[in-house]
Symmetry: D3
Subunit: 340 residues, 6 copies
């Protein structure tokens, strides 16, 4: 089976138990996650040959991050070891009107100090068919951005298909910087994934009235964003996730795929949230799986949306929904009846 | 007070904490439960003299199962000890579109290897007024089925009223086998409890359009099922539970009682689910309580439905709702205001 | 910054984890709380100089209560030490149709045996601008009632503004006794806080049809209650909280402020409940903050309601919502989107 | 099997997890226990027909205490319901040089307000062969003392053998009061259990140099205490437990039995402590079991000491060591090898 | 790096938290382990290419067992899927005089029903240098015994070195059956590992006075056992572990290696036990590592003993001591000073 | 009461529960601590007016650190807010031969980037009588070193007594750099605290044979170190802690005070370790308390040693032993008998 490569940062995530606030916590639940690592776990989970490339420190915290990826079937042979620390993010789970809160402590992480030459991309892409990255890695600093560019060039040379989730992070860089750096990287990208905020913040492409809280989608607005993204960067496909935030406890979740010809809208799911983090990444994982396995555009967007719908009911960054569960939901069974 | 006897399997139930999936679990919450044991706890909880008859191994896991029954007031003097193991079931709690999942590990359990002659039914039914069993026990094997038949004959001879919850389990036997075995046992049954699936799977009695997800009940469909069950087996009463699965987090819950003359429909409750397992059993417990205490048919179905509505908000298999709480809800107070 | 003084009982609160019932609990989560202590924490949390006055025993349980107040920035220098025990309340969290349940074990607590002369009110009110108490403290016994009266007289003499949350507790006294004792204390009160039940139980002032379960408010009923309270006791302001109990899991929450001229109704919030206890107290804390900081009446009621709306999503008695979070919700952002 | 009756207080015990101090605790582990209840559980655990008599409040905390006794096989049919509260004790587990710490909150408990006439002793002692009480119950107040006397008189009239553990509690009464009250009760006692401190505090009978920290026992000192107790009150048997406190983590544990003729010293056990509370009570349980089952004096003291040695390795007040485990240790196997 | 293959059963291990007894448990800690799996994790942990061969059911419990092996770096590509259930063992941790207790529930497990032909041994041993099994697998039944024989023949043909830990389990078979089956398998074994009990139970080879509780070793006794084992079966090397059980909390741990010429005794370690299970397996892992890496016999036995000494301080079946930690202890640093 | 000022870093400490290793952890216990913060809590705990000066980020993690200090009575009014992150350290608790392990992640912490001018030392030392710092703060970087020097100069000018715990950290700087920086700071120090390693690493002052594992102290070696420290830097007093590491579970603990005239050796305590971190800091806290309260040199060293002996039995960095507990142990009661 050909390899699917994901590249980026994996972080230690620390969360107060249940709905406790940071100031109430006497322990933190520990998981590991990050945009691209989350995609790699989704893919391994569906039985794909998924490899994750990153850099983690040579200490037990770095070991634990690698172990967690291995545990869920991700190939970690290309993980580089070095640097001072593993990035950390603190997550406080919200409820009702109280939003979930993320406190980042990722500065000076091992991957943020990685640089071109640190990774043997030729070896990484040997036998690979797909490369996935996000807008987070180049935002970590000029060196990670250069390293990403190096990866992209090598991938293209070796005929590897490339997907990118724009994933704008305002704490890491400004829209201006993001637009400039990402603009250059986009030329290597075949499949672009974005949400309604990313396209605007990174490339200034704004949808009209995309508020879906009420449950109704303004299809036209999303279509325009996808079309403009494709027009500007020549993407083969553009996928856009649509989130309606009713409250921290309840969301509406849907997505759209544009293949340059048609616009495919998924079913729209009302989700009662267990853990919303990694929702977008699980969409990416589902999308890459479906596209790698010859799904039709309509099935692709349904698979990716069903996969990420299920993620919202799962604790942690990783999507532990199984292939058969995603297919069952995609096939219409969202009744939640006990499976005996 | 006359004794109410429940007979069947009690299992060790192992669940990941909260909404964790099996593959994420580093500990399992431990409770004990099973269809008939759950009924016995409901009855003890309402102050009835409830005895549970089963067979558990002579080890600390068997001891713990017996202890848990004693803790909640069930008479365990007729529990037989022997066999290799206590049946186990693993339960993963679902949420939103992700269904709860049960993995059974009950083969070769002590009760599944029990056989006619193992239990002194004469002693068990001495002073008893009611005997309750379910379709699970005969499904455990030919010997437990024969043991059940032995119990039923003895009960009838001693003038004990009999109730049965059809409780079809597709992992344990086929519809054909179920229909054959259960068909024979039904002649001893006075009160039959079923849900919309049981009657179809066991006896091929299908209701038209009984989907109540939308909250609307097709009364006609349920009436036909109850009437046909009574026609075929001559039950004194037939009770049918009606579950509308909106998602793993939200259900609609209601029930109907048919006494051969009239059909009594309970109020319909929207339930926000804490733990859905044992919901049907708590209905059985409420039904037997109400019928044993001279409730009118209308009050009987309201009591049983209110009792089982409350169960959905309680962790574990057992229903720990109190008599006064059931009566309060039956009386209309479902506002959930803090009781100080 | 001038001091805001809260006076009353702080209790040890013991709760089974999650949604477990008392009879299932093998551990209790520990927090400390009480009507007036909760208000003091809210105020300290918003950066105010808040002092809490009470009496706790000279043992590690008393120490822990004081520590918890200090932890969240409350000035505990006036806490008196002595007596036999700290009051306790056991709280079982409800869900869906099952109500939360409080078992009080507060008799003979240190504060219930405090008496006039035990506290140096002159020192307490030196530099203070506001004094807050509730109907709970005088209900603890004749001595605490006398001590409250002593505090009120001293506060008035020293020009300190006084607020009171009527907070009727039926386990502590009868409506008749409450009406008599509270009636006398009301003459010292400037700002009266009540819910729909308090005014009726304590002073026999009944609103017509104030059921807001359906989400619709009968404004007229609440206006009449506020107007009558003001007429009878000459309050400067009257604030009334409006709770619609759909179930133990879902409530509607809103409030009204009457300043003798106009009636200001807040937005109405659908709240998905994490912990409902202390909801009213967090309203009081928000109200005092807003009034102490020169908010307009309309902004005051929006601030207090938003603050207490957020409390429902926070575990424990204390409201750990921050000033900026309250302002954001008051400003309209209740979407619960992840804050990164 | 004839009934063994234990009478006294059962309390809710609240302990910080592990070795946390009270001021660090965010949760308390919950068990139930008390000197006489602990004895009843030991006896039920060895298969005896043990009944516990007490009074607990009519609330879920009282229910939970009763449930816990039932869970471990104790007959609770004579438990009286009423009163305001269940007594509580807070326990902080010590280690090394830091002592375990108990904070009592037992005043005004249901049993402390019980009075003569509250219990139908004739029914309790019908078919009973043994009655066990301790010096704690009469120390709870004059009424419980009178109730104890009432029980003793009835027991004697009905030919029931009586044992008493002196169990002096300095927080409950003075040595003078204890000596006076207990002195009167002793006339009904057949078997007296004491430790080195009790005899001195209650009756002023002091052993010379009974420090066994070094591991060496001054047999002579203990013999004199036992002989003097027997001389004064005419006990049939006197048992004395010998504890050498090396630290909160390590103790030496042994005991002696005097039957008026000979002095029987048990083996001396070095114990690594898991939970030391209830150690003396488990000795009492072992003693009553052995004496009720015709053990020789030498075997009796070995059984009781082995039973209580094992208790020190078990969490909670109750001794969950099994009959076969006690016999194995009594037989010399204290190697702790894994039992597969 | 050449592959080291371990073959056997991996079980779900369920343990009450801390020192709770089974009858007190409301949750079980979950780990996975088994004699041969434990060896494979030790080897992976030291950086070896370790593969584990077994059969687990196609369900989430089987998935979790595989995941846990992967997490710690074991190659699971040869794990066969099928069968009804994963074997379970319940473990209650002992302390002081109370022994740890294991309740097995492993009958009918997937591996116990595996049979010759189920595993492609040619593929497994391709590129392998070592094969490790224990006396547990052939004890699971005639089919697993035949499967083991099949593996051994294939290993020998492919020039793979073979080690066996005798590991007698009295619940699984009798000494007579064990002697017969194991006797045949021994002809394929190069390195034999045993403890003082195994040699006696399986082959009737009894050491004189090998009690090392007092800390003194009777070297002669162990030498005779090793020499006799070698004489009978022609092993290249025989390793014997020496455990002195002072109590469940404290043991003495040492070992001996015999290479046909000399007897090498390791240092003797007093161990304060955190988790004693897997102690012998971690010795096997250390032994195979040292022998595979060209250690001298003296260093080999010191490495293996130091590795297994450290295991006793680690929770779970697996030994998570690192290579550098083992070397440091082997080098003499057992002071336990904080490593910063 | 005059203020005692402690200055340094407070860190978030993350520890796997119990004895789990980092690679096994799914949650971390959370406490806050650091050498100087630990001293300030000890002092507040004994009733002193203790203030802690540091710099923490303006986020909920920084808030939590401040809250924890307030909780235990430390004055935090001089805590500066700013910078990117709170320093973190991961702690894995060792047992038996396995050492506790610390992984630091403290680079770029808020305090490590503080610089002269950031703190208003005049305000800090207004009304202060004592200033305590350690060798950790100047090791954090040149700026913190300069800030420390600034503090020392101001302290001296304002007549504040100064103590320093040398506390060498090899991860932060080299012995050469430490010797140079600390050498300059020592001129402002009145009381020097060190252990056997610090004096050697920082100033090259080596004791002969100070290994006290065997329990015997080489008094001569320690005397020479103290005398040489005093000779070189003119300290008023030198205190040296003596730790004998038998294993990670058991240590010997003692200390010596030299006042330029006499050498005072404390009792030597065998400690069974619950949490060894902060042991030295609790010694410092005890020393400052005793010296500030006019204790004799002999009593001073006994108080400080008893205080820190107790710390080893307490979880977390902070010493929660009370004044009366320290005095009791100092007075000879280390038997660990239950305090009721």
């Amino acid at each position: 089976m050909s390899r699917i490569v994901c590249f980026g940062e994996i972080m230690l995530r620390l969360s107060p138990p249940g709905y406790l606030r940071f100031v109430q916590a006497n322990s933190f639940d520990v998981v590991y996650g990050g945009g691209e690592a989350n995609v790699s776990v989704s893919l391994a989970n569906y039985g794909m040959n998924a490899a994750f490339v990153t850099r983690v420190p040579e200490n037990p915290i770095g070991d634990s991050a690698v172990n967690e990826l291995r545990r869920f079937g991700v190939d970690t042979q290309f993980v580089s070891r070095g640097g001072d620390r593993l990035g950390i993010y603190f997550l406080e789970k919200g409820a009702s009107q109280r939003a979930s809160k993320v406190v980042y402590d990722r500065k000076y992480s091992a991957i943020s100090e990685a640089k071109p030459g640190d990774i043997d991309w030729m070896a990484v892409f040997e036998g690979a068919s797909w490369f996935h990255f996000t807008g987070i890695t180049p935002a970590l600093g000029d060196q990670p951005a250069a390293l990403t560019l190096e990866a992209l060039k090598c991938a293209k040379e070796m005929g590897v298909k490339v997907s990118c989730d724009l994933n704008f992070r305002k704490n890491l860089w400004s829209p201006v910087k993001a637009g400039s750096v990402m603009g250059e990287l986009m030329q290597y990208v075949d499949v672009c994934i974005a949400n309604e905020e990313d396209a605007e913040k990174v490339f200034g492409i704004k949808a009209d009235d995309t508020d879906i809280s009420g449950g109704k989608l303004n299809h036209g607005g999303y279509k325009k964003v996808a079309a403009e993204l494709r027009r500007r960067f020549g993407f083969e496909k553009v996928a856009i996730t649509l989130r309606g935030s009713i409250s921290a406890s309840d969301n509406i979740w849907a997505a759209m795929l544009y293949d340059g010809t048609d616009y495919y809208f998924s079913k729209s799911y009302p989700v009662h949230i267990v853990d919303r983090v990694g929702g977008g990444d699980s969409f990416g994982g589902g999308l890459i799986y479906a596209l790698s396995n010859g799904y039709s555009p309509a099935d692709t967007i349904e698979f990716a949306t069903a996969a990420s719908c299920l993620k919202h009911s799962i604790e942690g960054d990783f999507n532990h929904a199984t292939l058969s569960e995603v297919k069952a939901l995609m096939g219409g069974d969202g009744s939640g009846r006990v499976q005996r």
